[in-house]
Amino acid sequence: MSLLTDARWGEALTHLSDYLGSHVRVSVTALALGLIVSLPLAIAARRRPLFRSVLLGLASIVQTVPGLALLALFYPLLLLLSQLTLQAFGFEFSAFGFLPAVLALALYSMLPVLRNTITALNGIDPVLLEAAQSVGMTPLQSLFTVELPLALPVIMAGIRTSAVWVIGTATLSTPIGQTSLGNYIFAGLQTQNWVFVLFGCVAAAVLALAVDQLLALIENGLRNRKRLRAFLGGFGIAALILATLAPTLSRSPSSYIVGAKTFAEQYVLSALIAGRLRAAGFSASSREGLGSSVIFNALAADDIDVYVDYSGTLWLNQLHRTDAPPREQLLGELKNMLAKQNITLFGELGFENAYALVMPKQRAEALGIHSIADLASHAATMSIAGDYEFFSRPEWAALKSAYGLSFRSQRTMQPDFMYAAVASGEVDVIAGYTSDGLIAKYDLTVLDDPRHAIPPYDAIVLLAPKRAHDEALQAALKPLLSRIDIADMREANLRASGNGAAASPDAVARWLWERIERR
């Protein structure tokens, strides 16, 4: 199938009004907020050198924080703030999605507007300022009738830069729960759906260019005092906002929101759950590409209704436990702990997605390695690769101390490339994921962990506090419990990260459901 006739273009198009609308909403709100804050600050700072230096310094520092980190930082910050307002004033707000995205992006938009406004205002010929005073203008009249109009072209250039930055950076608001064109990019990268990645990038670029050109039209009209141009530009911006708002407003909100983290398996499972809910007659939508701690807090705050997590992840990250009790005990304790936060551990799906040491099957057999204990004596001559976080995780510390592992070298790798690397012999062992479809594809073997250094990672369905007694929801999801085995999940993951229309999470979820039904 050629790239142009790929059916996934059509699938991408069906999400466009939702993703684009959300993207425009968050970008425009952030830009407006950024302007409302930056312009008065710039005006106040223009004749105060110290204030100006501090302001520009702070704005520059914000700019050096990577966009993704800035967005991610706002989530816990707001969460904390929300808890404080709840204690102090008896109300809380959602720290999920729109609000943190708007605040972080607004902060991000400030530097070009501040810098250009201050530069433009300070660059005005002092004789003109004296002339404005001499003809009898008050400072405010001078500002609005002389200084700002003269500074306008440079200020508009700053606003245009900000607009392009904000629209580009808004794609990174997907992991904190704000739907955006980034949903295409994050989903596409995780499921190797290059059509989605391309579609998301092109859509964001086209949007940025369109807004930039409309702002240029307004700037041109204002500068040359051509009312029609300024009006057309303003009309274009207003039309864009209305067009992207209309479909969202007319659509009734979904009854259920299913969360998904940032990897292929999560996209498939959220599609599977959403599919079951729709089959039961409900409307359901997905919030995909959420960060690991964002998704848990979003569930606890009732911002999403249901998602799939892994027992070991919660054990380590949420309960901060480093011991590894047997799975039944761990699940029992986890259930009790979650219940204290009113979160329902609805049940296990039947497979585990744990970290595991993986190597080529033939090589393992040749060396007589079946378990990590067997590996220990060979480790000194071997190299190991893991994902970006593995070597700083407690599992790695536990493995090293339980088996006395000491490798010749260790490397971090993009998870997608790790399997190919171990299959080709570029590294000897990798820290893979047990449910990964590439294990079967590359004929790899998962080494046993006889000392249970790694806690069990059962896939479990979590329900939000407000869904604790939702029997309709629970009835719809019940058929999924204990019905997905590791082989099916590996196959599903392999399909989902393949290339082609059948590889969309929805399509893979339908395939998986057929397998489940047939049992």
Binding site: E130, A131, G136, L150
Partner: protein
């Protein structure tokens, strides 16, 4: 009975960072008078001018305008009552000729129709064609810009006009025409004008009286004839240049019909 002088400086001093720009100057500007303030750059003449409409505030002494101490007046109201002409016109580049001329009347809240009539009057007064009304300052010549600058200063019918080296940046021909036109306007409208210049010939040709500023002090004050009798060395030096020029010009250009 002595009338109240339109502008009176009484023992006025002003320093910028320990440097005395104006140092103990007392000076009355008479009604209907054209006063030229002459001095080298740094002599304090610009400061003296700006003290009159409170662009600069005095450290010591008092400045009164039409009998009122300027410190007791709202500077914005004061400035709307006094015309001000800058060296290069200092027109607002984003406003048309009409917008520039009508700026003070508009600030005073005149009705639009009245402003439009006034702009027509002023264009005629400064001898600019009505077709220039909608042009931007960029589209005008230096002389035209300065005519608009004068029109702007006169728009709200001030009795006092302050001029900051108004003809300095113009070519000789334009300068000459504008000088004559402005002096005629001064007489016709009964203005009180204070003009700064560093050109003694200009001061002599235009002014009723000349105030000579030197390092912040008022060195001499009088009509051209009175100044020519001054025994002050600095004043004599200032007068030497135009005298010398006249002698040389006379030698080079014999009067018409002379043998």
């Amino acid at each position: 009975m002595p009338t109240t002088p339109p502008i009176a400086y009484c023992d006025v001093s002003k320093s910028f960072a320990d440097l005395a720009a104006v140092d103990g100057v007392s000076l009355d500007v008479a009604a209907g008078e054209f006063l030229a303030v002459i001095g080298a750059s740094g002599s304090g003449k610009s400061t003296l001018l700006r003290l009159a409409n409170r662009l600069i505030e005095a450290d010591r002494g008092s400045v009164t305008v039409e009998g009122h101490d300027v410190r007791a007046l709202d500077p914005v109201v004061l400035r709307r009552r006094i015309g001000y002409v800058f060296q290069s016109g200092a027109l607002f580049p984003h406003m048309s000729v009409e917008g520039n001329i009508g700026v003070t009347p508009k600030l005073l809240g005149w009705p639009a129709a009245e402003i439009a009539t006034r702009v027509d009057e002023l264009l005629e007064l400064v001898r600019l064609d009505a077709s220039h009304r909608d042009r931007l300052p960029d589209e005008l010549s230096g002389g035209q810009r300065q005519r608009v600058g004068v029109a702007r200063a006169l728009a709200a019918k001030p009795r006092i006009v302050l001029m900051d080296e108004p003809f300095g940046a113009l070519d000789a021909l334009t300068r000459d025409a504008l000088r004559d036109d402005f002096r005629a306007l001064h007489n016709k409208l009964g203005l009180t004008t204070v003009m700064i210049t560093h050109d003694m010939a200009e001061a002599l040709l235009l002014a009723d009286r000349i105030a000579v500023m030197h390092t912040g002090r008022l060195k001499a004050l009088g009509t051209p004839a009175e100044l020519s009798k001054s025994d002050d060395a600095y004043v004599a030096e200032l007068l030497r240049t135009p005298r010398h020029e006249v002698e040389r010009l006379n030698a080079l250009l014999p009067p018409d019909g002379a043998a």
